[in-house]
Structure formats: structure tokens, C-alpha cells
């Protein structure tokens, strides 16, 4: 089997187009408001700095720490602690924990605007 054939270029082009199209989307976020989702539902909206435990089915799954500008999670009850390793995230960033079905993100809106 050949390492490279001419038509392989199309795959590169498609991937590049997808990445470029995604990069041109314009997004705005409220830096002072963090929304916490568990199983797709909003369980908490945070506007003041502090530490906020998050519960699911009556059990604490993680603690969200907000410093006013950035957010992170600590003491997560998941095996790999990937959400903790994501560290501090600012507006535009998200913390996702699949085992805990958790999403932590800054409130904002996404506008699909292509700029030339």
C-alpha cells in the first residue's frame, strides 16, 4: 500500500476547511458568570468568587472554584481526574467531566459570523 496517493490531498483540504471554519466563528462571553451543567441541566450559576460543591443524586461530585475571572474544579469524584487536570479556564474555555456528566463554562453566546 502506498504511503501517499494524490487523492489523499482532499482529506487534508477537508480537515483544513473544517478547522478554519470553526476558527472564524465569533463568540462572546460574560467573564463574570459561570454556568454549571449536570446531565445537561443547569444546576448552578456562579457570579461571585468562591468554592461551590456540585451534587448529583445527593452525592458531591466535585467542587467548582471561581476567582472572579477564571474557574477550575477540585476534589472530583472521578477515576482519572481529567477535569482537574484541565486547570484554570477563562471565558471561552470549558471544563468537561464525562464520568460525572458535568460541564462548567462561562455564560455566553456563539454567533456564526464569517469574517473575510
Amino acid at each position: 500500500m502506498d504511503i501517499f496517493r494524490k487523492r489523499d490531498v482532499f482529506v487534508f483540504i477537508i480537515i483544513a476547511i473544517v478547522l478554519l471554519a470553526w476558527g472564524f466563528r465569533s463568540k462572546s462571553y460574560s467573564p463574570g458568570k459561570v454556568v454549571v451543567f449536570v446531565e445537561g441541566k443547569v444546576v448552578m450559576t456562579i457570579t461571585r468568587p468562591g468554592e461551590y460543591p456540585v451534587f448529583r443524586n445527593g452525592r458531591r461530585i466535585t467542587t467548582v472554584v471561581f476567582d472572579g475571572k477564571r474557574v477550575r474544579v477540585v476534589n472530583s469524584q472521578c477515576p482519572l481526574k481529567i477535569c482537574e487536570k484541565m486547570g484554570w479556564v477563562g471565558p471561552g474555555g470549558e471544563i468537561i467531566c464525562v464520568p460525572n456528566k458535568l460541564v462548567v463554562k462561562f455564560e455566553g453566546s456563539t454567533t456564526d459570523v464569517l469574517t473575510w
Partner: protein, 157 residues
């Protein structure tokens, strides 16, 4: 053929286990070099590629303690989907590069879909561009690994 498949599953599983000890630049994700064996097999044996994809995911996850975790399910579905797409790409006369990049992209998309099902949210797709970019780099590495297996396979047979 069964014995040879078993050997290739062992090779792929070993790569899966060893690469889990190599630090990955992102907090989430894996190198994915174990998919190189799947890529190689997809170039000539569809069933074999599926068996290897399933086998290395199962065995690798058992040894790394990830069996039946959401991450295992995501990886399992992604590996099988990648095997299917790579085989289709080879049937349409693409080379290792095209098949590997496409397989990596489909692998990541499927993992995001499964992840979105688990967390019941589409926000996980915000990570897709990053994974597509990093996955493409691993896919290029898999191309050269898959090519190197050809001589090994000829000697084994």
C-alpha cells in the same frame, strides 16, 4: 490466520498500554499509536481490522483499569468507526495518509458523540477542533508505523 491475528492484537494492546505511560500534551486524550495496527490491517482485511480494533481496546482497557468506563466506551466506538472508515478509504484507492487522517477524524467525532450522549450536552464538541488537529499529528505517525508492519507481516506469513 487466527494465530497471526492474536499476535497483532497483542502488539496493538502492548502499544496501547505503553503509550498510556507517555505524557500527552493535553489533559485529555491519548497518542493513539495503537491504531497503527488497525490502519495496516484495514488496507487488506476488513474483519481482521475490526477484530484488532475491538481486541486492543478491550485488552488495553483491562490492563489500564479503564474497562467499562465512559472513556473505554468512547474509545471502543471510535476505534471501530475508524477501522470501518479506513477500510472504505482504501477501497476508494486512498493511500495510508488519507485513510489514517480520515480514520482519526472519524474516531474523534464518534468519541465526541458518545461523550455528548453521556453528559447529555453538546458542549463537548468545543474540544473537537483541538482533537482533530492533535489527532492528525498522531495519524501521520501511524502512517509510517503501518508501513513498517508490511515487511514484518510478509515475514510472519
Amino acid at each position: 490466520m487466527v494465530a497471526l491475528l492474536g499476535i497483532m492484537i497483542a502488539v496493538s494492546s502492548s502499544i496501547y498500554i505503553v503509550e498510556s505511560f507517555i505524557p500527552f500534551p493535553l489533559p485529555v486524550g491519548r497518542w493513539g499509536f495503537s491504531n497503527s495496527v488497525v490502519l495496516f490491517f484495514a488496507s487488506f482485511d476488513f474483519k481482521g481490522s475490526l477484530i484488532i480494533a475491538a481486541g486492543k481496546s478491550l485488552i488495553g482497557s483491562l490492563f489500564t483499569g479503564r474497562f467499562m468506563t465512559p472513556g473505554f466506551v468512547m474509545g471502543f466506538v471510535g476505534a471501530l468507526g475508524a477501522a470501518v472508515v479506513e477500510w472504505v478509504m482504501f477501497r476508494f484507492k486512498f493511500g495510508y495518509f488519507g485513510a489514517s487522517i480520515a480514520g482519526s477524524a472519524v474516531n474523534n467525532v464518534l468519541q465526541m458523540l458518545v461523550g455528548a450522549y453521556f453528559i447529555k450536552s453538546g458542549y463537548i464538541f468545543s474540544l473537537l477542533p483541538l482533537f482533530l488537529a492533535v489527532g492528525s499529528i498522531s495519524a501521520i505517525g501511524n502512517v509510517y508505523l503501518a508501513k513498517s508492519y508490511e515487511r514484518f507481516w510478509r515475514e510472519m506469513k
